[in-house]
């Protein structure tokens, strides 16, 4: 009997296990105490990620509260993902990629026209996915805030130069997120093809929720 390596060292029994197709959104409620494992199946796939408090979805992930509380821009093992009220929503319990991004934002049809040109207006984008997922639960544009990009690499140089560069992830690498409160996870499996965030090839990712 072979053991699925993606299920190794999980916190408890698996309660949900799906493949998110390339370019697609995903929404799931994760209860306090459960762990969400995201598997970068084919390597260097940016997974754009937002969180809302299930009890009150006006409370949501805050990149600014998260980085100021830890005094560092990069999301690593031990990072507490904080809400706009400063409360812990999830903790990065484990990661086989050294760090993840939370300053690079989500691509949108609108920002693509600035970054690359108006010829990209019709291409699919993460904000489209975020909106589609959020609209199912009565949230909308006002609920799109600065997000996390798992498996994405955005260095900041001494003169402030910043950009999305080649990723540091690889096939099969994972991040484990432990829920500190009941949360609603909204994901865009990034469809961007104009920069290296997906290695110029959007691919599926696997979402595993364990007790």
């Amino acid at each position: 009997m072979s053991i699925d390596p993606h299920l190794a060292d999980l916190s408890g029994p698996v309660v949900h296990d799906v493949i998110v197709p390339a370019r697609a959104p995903w929404l799931h409620h994760v209860a306090a105490g459960q762990t969400l494992r995201i598997v970068d199946l084919e390597g260097n796939q940016a997974v754009d990620f937002l969180l809302y408090a299930a009890a009150d979805d006006a409370e949501r992930y805050s990149a600014q509260d998260t980085v100021s509380a830890q005094g560092n821009l990069f999301l690593r093992e031990g990072t507490v993902l904080r809400s706009n009220e400063g409360r812990p929503m999830m903790t990065i319990a484990a990661t086989s990629v050294e760090y993840h991004d939370t300053i690079g934002g989500a691509c949108s049809c609108e920002s693509n026209t600035l970054r690359y040109g108006h010829h990209t207006k019709a291409e699919h984008a993460c904000v489209e996915n975020f909106l589609e997922a959020n609209l199912r639960e009565g949230r909308g544009k006002r609920d799109i805030v600065s997000n996390i990009n798992f498996f994405m690499n955005v260095p900041v140089e001494a003169d402030g130069s910043l950009g999305i560069v080649d990723g540091i992830s690889a096939p099969g690498l994972t991040v484990d997120l432990k829920a500190e409160m009941d949360v609603i996870v909204v994901v865009s499996n990034c469809p961007q093809i104009n920069n290296p965030c997906n290695g110029f090839n959007p691919t599926p990712v696997r979402m595993i929720v364990a007790e």
Partner: protein, 273 residues
């Protein structure tokens, strides 16, 4: 005062006796400023207000308006929300602002971009050089932990609660309070991602000149930076002066400085066509 105010007219006279009181943190109506740039006529003044230490202000500014913010005493911390006044679901997007301009730091010539690929405001002049796109603002929990209390009604108000009030004055709700930028206090990123706050205090009188590229609603909170290392709540008043100005022309140097910025201006001009 220990007067007896048993009758409404006595109460009215008591209230009216306060007229003409001048304090530092107040709006001046009608606006008057004796230090306008030479090319600005006094009749073009829109707004003159000093924001209290720990206070907030809001304003709708028309496209083309110039807004001069002055750190009067060297310890102001101007955290800002920006909305499209006519469609406030469009608002400042900090991630797009740094990503599209390929740089973490705000300064002269930089654009404050909305989430719809448009320019809300441009930074025309920057006499401060210390600004922050990363740390956000304080909240009730951070202020309670640091100063013992963070409530709006207490002595150590926090930025987030000020933002909520300012947004509410324009009919906006909790969902509308978005990641902010802060002017006059900086956050420098070290190798490895560590954040070094640049708190000063700085020399008195530094100013920043912004230009509205759309009709905007601005909310400004003037509370101590969330990473201010001092044990005591420390912030000083912020002066805001705004005047009317022309819509940015096609040959404007900030508009044409980068290909990304130019497309953002094209998007603004298309919106107003």
């Amino acid at each position: 005062m220990t007067e007896i105010l048993a009758s409404p007219l006595d109460a009215r006279d008591h209230a009216r006796a306060m007229a003409g009181t001048v304090v530092e943190a107040m709006p001046v109506l009608p606006p008057v400023a004796d230090d306008l740039p030479p090319e600005v006529a006094p009749s073009e003044l829109l707004w003159e207000e000093t924001v209290a230490a720990g206070g907030y202000a809001t304003r709708r500014l028309p496209r083309g308006a110039r807004l001069r913010l002055i750190d009067l005493a060297g310890d102001a911390c101007a955290s800002i929300l920006l909305f499209n006044a006519d469609m406030p679901t469009e608002r400042l997007n900090v991630a797009d602002t740094v990503k599209v301009q390929w740089n973490a730091y705000l300064g002269e010539g930089k654009l404050l971009l909305s989430d719809m690929g448009r320019v809300l405001m441009s930074i025309v002049e920057d006499g401060a050089g210390t600004h922050d796109t990363f740390c956000g603002t304080s909240n009730a929990a951070t202020n309670a932990a640091k100063y013992g209390c963070g409530a709006n009604s207490g002595p150590y108000p926090n930025g987030r609660d000020r933002f909520l009030l300012g947004a509410a004055k324009h009919g906006l709700q909790r969902r509308d309070v978005h990641p902010c930028v802060t002017l006059f206090k900086g956050a420098k990123i070290e190798p490895g991602g560590a954040i070094t706050p640049l708190i000063g205090p700085f020399p008195a009188g530094r100013s920043v000149l912004l230009r509205a590229e759309m009709d905007v609603i601005m909310v400004i909170a003037n509370c101590p930076h969330v990473l201010d290392p001092r044990d005591t709540y420390t912030v000083t008043p912020l002066r805001a002066t705004a005047w009317r100005g022309p819509v940015t022309s096609e040959d404007d140097p900030i508009r044409n400085a980068t290909p990304e910025g130019l497309r953002a201006f094209l998007n603004v001009e298309d919106y107003y066509r």
